[in-house]
C-alpha cells in the first residue's frame, strides 16, 4: 500500500475578529510547473537553489508593452535596461524583439556591443562615464545622455580630437508631484539648469543635441507622474524648436514602471495597486500628443523600462533546510535562498509558493535564508504552508535586479536556466565553482 504524503502536524488558535472585506486567499496555490516543465525535474537536474527564466514570458510581456505604446503614439522605441538583467541570453531576447540597449557603465556598454547591438542603438546613461568610455561611445555614434557639466566638458574636449560630432541628450530631473523627487540625475527643470545645459550645447555646436531624457524614479505607483514628466520634456523640446529651429529627435522617459510585486509595508498587494502598462502608455502618449509640438514632426518616444518587462519572467526555486520555533513560539523556516540571491527581498514582500500540492493549513512563518547573518530574512511574516525539510518552493517575479545585484557571499552562485519558447531548458549562466573564485585572488610570496 502506498503511504500517504506526510504534512507536519499543526494546530492554530482561532482568533475572533472583524472579517475584512478585502480577504485574501487562505490557501497557497502550488507552482508545480514553469512553462510546462516540472519544478522537481528542474531542481533535480540543475541543483537547488536555481534561477529560472521564461523566454515566453519575456516575449509576451514585451509585446504587451509595445502594443500599449505603439497603439497610442506613432514612433516608439524600447531600449533594454542592462542593469536590470544583463545576462547575455536575456538581453538577446529583448534585442531580437527590437529593443535597443540602455547601459550605465563601460562594462555594460561593452556587453551590449558583444551582444551585437549597433553603436548607434546604444543609449549611454549613468553618472560615471570615463574618457575611454566616452571616446568609444563617440566613435560608435552612440547616444550619450549627459548627467552633469563635468561630463559635458569632457565630451567637448574629446570631440575636438575625434573629428566626430557626438550625439547627445541631456538628462533632466524635475518635480513630477511624487515623493521623493529624484534630483540626482541630470539637470533640474524647475531651477533653469536644464535650459542652461541646452543653451551651452546649442551655442557650442560641437555637440549634436538629439534628445531629452528623464528618469523620474523607480517603482512608480502613479502614471500621473509620467504625464507631468512627458509634458515638461515636450515643453523643453518645443522651446528648443522655437529658440534654435532644431527638432529634437527623441524624448526618453526612462524606466520606473512598477512590476506587480508588493512593496514592503504596502497594505494592498501590488497586483491590485500597480498601474497597467496601458495606463503608463496613455499618460505619456497623451501628454506629448497634447503638447505644443508639431504633430507632423513628433520626436520618437524612447522607453527604458526594465523591471516591468522582466520581473514576471524570473523564478527562484529552492528547498527547505529546516523548521524551528522562535522564542515567542512563532514558526521559522530556513531555506537555501538567501538575500545574497534575492537582493529585492529588501524592498519586496516576495510571493513564495510550494512546489507541490499542500493542505489548506497555513502558519504565520518567518522565512530565513541560509546565511549566518541576522539580516538574512526573506519574509518577516508570511502565511506559509506547512513545508518540511526537503520540500521545494518557488519564488515568483524575481527577474529584475537579482541577477545583477547578487552577492557572492560565503557560498557560490547557482545555475541560471532559460526555458525557451519550445519548453527546452538551457543553462545561460553556469553555477560558480571554487576555482573560478580563487583564480581572481593572488597570494603574495611570503604567505605561500
Amino acid at each position: 500500500m502506498e503511504k500517504k504524503r506526510f504534512e507536519r502536524p499543526f494546530i492554530k488558535k482561532l482568533q475572533a475578529g472583524m472579517p475584512s472585506k478585502f480577504g485574501m486567499k487562505s490557501q497557497a496555490t502550488p507552482v508545480t510547473h514553469i512553462d510546462n516543465v516540472p519544478v522537481p525535474e528542474l531542481l533535480a537536474e540543475y541543483g537547488s537553489p536555481l534561477y529560472v527564466i521564461s523566454e515566453k514570458t519575456i516575449r509576451d510581456k514585451y509585446k504587451k508593452a509595445s502594443h500599449a505604446f505603439t497603439t497610442r503614439y506613432p514612433k516608439v522605441q524600447f531600449a533594454w535596461s542592462y542593469k536590470t538583467n544583463y545576462l547575455d541570453a536575456v538581453c538577446r531576447v529583448f534585442h531580437q524583439e527590437g529593443s535597443w540597449a540602455e547601459v550605465v557603465s563601460g562594462f555594460e556598454y561593452d556587453k551590449a556591443l558583444q551582444n551585437g547591438v549597433k553603436g548607434s542603438q546604444i543609449i549611454f546613461n549613468g553618472p560615471d562615464k570615463n574618457d575611454e568610455d566616452l571616446k568609444k561611445a563617440i566613435e560608435n555614434d552612440s547616444l550619450i545622455h549627459i548627467d552633469h557639466f563635468d561630463e559635458m566638458y569632457s565630451i567637448i574636449a574629446i570631440s575636438e580630437h575625434s573629428g566626430k560630432r557626438p550625439k547627445v541628450a541631456i538628462r533632466v530631473n524635475m518635480d513630477t508631484g511624487v515623493y521623493p523627487m529624484w534630483d540626482r540625475f541630470g539637470f533640474n527643470y524647475e531651477n533653469g539648469d536644464a535650459w542652461d545645459a541646452i543653451n551651452r550645447i546649442m551655442i557650442n555646436e560641437k555637440l549634436e543635441l538629439v534628445g531629452l531624457h528623464t528618469h523620474i524614479g523607480t517603482y512608480m505607483l502613479t502614471s500621473d507622474a509620467y504625464k507631468v514628466a512627458a509634458g515638461k520634456l515636450a515643453d523643453l523640446a518645443y522651446g528648443i524648436e522655437r529658440k534654435y529651429g532644431v527638432n529634437i529627435k527623441y524624448i526618453d522617459l526612462g524606466g520606473g514602471f512598477a512590476s506587480q510585486n508588493t512593496l514592503k509595508g504596502a497594505y494592498y498587494p501590488g497586483s491590485d495597486t500597480v498601474p497597467s502598462l496601458d495606463e503608463y502608455a496613455e499618460a505619456i502618449s497623451s501628454a506629448i500628443l497634447n503638447s505644443e509640438l508639431n504633430p507632423r514632426n513628433l520626436p520618437t518616444l524612447i522607453l527604458e523600462s526594465g523591471r516591468a518587462l522582466i520581473d514576471d519572467a524570473g523564478y527562484l526555486l529552492g528547498t527547505v533546510i529546516a523548521n524551528k520555533r522562535l522564542s515567542n513560539g512563532n514558526r521559522a523556516t530556513i531555506v537555501d535562498v538567501g538575500i545574497n540571491l534575492l537582493f529585492t527581498s529588501f524592498w519586496y514582500e516576495h510571493e513564495v509558493y510550494p512546489a507541490a500540492p499542500v493542505s489548506e493549513h497555513m502558519e504565520e512563518t518567518t522565512i530565513y535564508g541560509p546565511l549566518c547573518m541576522n539580516i538574512d530574512v526573506l519574509r518577516e511574516a508570511i502565511a506559509f504552508p506547512l513545508l518540511k525539510k526537503g520540500d521545494q518552493f518557488v519564488i515568483k517575479r524575481i527577474g529584475a535586479y537579482n541577477m545583477t545585484q547578487w552577492m557572492q557571499f560565503i557560498t557560490l552562485r547557482p545555475n541560471v536556466v532559460l526555458i525557451d519558447t519550445n519548453g527546452k531548458v538551457h543553462i545561460i549562466r553556469k553555477e560558480e565553482n571554487m576555482e573560478l573564485i580563487r583564480q581572481q585572488e593572488v597570494v603574495p610570496d611570503h604567505l605561500k
Binding site: K3, K4, F6, F10, I11, L14, S359, L386
Partner: protein, 85 residues
C-alpha cells in the same frame, strides 16, 4: 506520560475546543490523528509506529515534528502531563 486533557473536544472535521477557556483551534489531519492517539493514551513509540506505517515519513523525522507539535499543545495548555521518576 502525557495525554490530552480529558475535557478537550476533538471533532473529526479538524476543530479542537477547550471548554475551560472557550478557545477553539484548527488542526490538520496529521495533528488530528496524533491528538486522537494521545486521547487514547498511546505512548510515543506506539504513535510513531502507527504514523510511520501510514505516512511517508521515517521515525527520526516523525519524532522531530511530534515534539514540535507537543510543544504547541503545551503552549496552548491542552496537555495533562504526568511526570514519572
Amino acid at each position: 506520560m502525557m495525554h490530552i486533557k480529558s475535557n478537550i473536544a476533538l471533532s473529526n472535521t479538524g476543530f479542537v475546543f477547550n471548554p475551560t477557556t472557550g478557545d477553539s483551534y484548527t488542526i490538520n489531519q496529521v495533528g488530528q490523528e496524533i491528538l486522537g492517539y494521545l486521547g487514547e493514551k498511546k505512548s510515543l513509540e506506539e504513535i510513531t509506529s502507527l504514523m510511520t506505517s501510514t505516512y511517508d515519513i521515517d521515525p527520526p523525522s516523525f519524532e522531530k515534528y511530534y515534539f514540535d507539535f507537543i510543544s504547541m499543545l503545551r503552549q496552548f495548555e491542552l496537555l495533562d502531563e504526568e511526570y514519572e521518576n
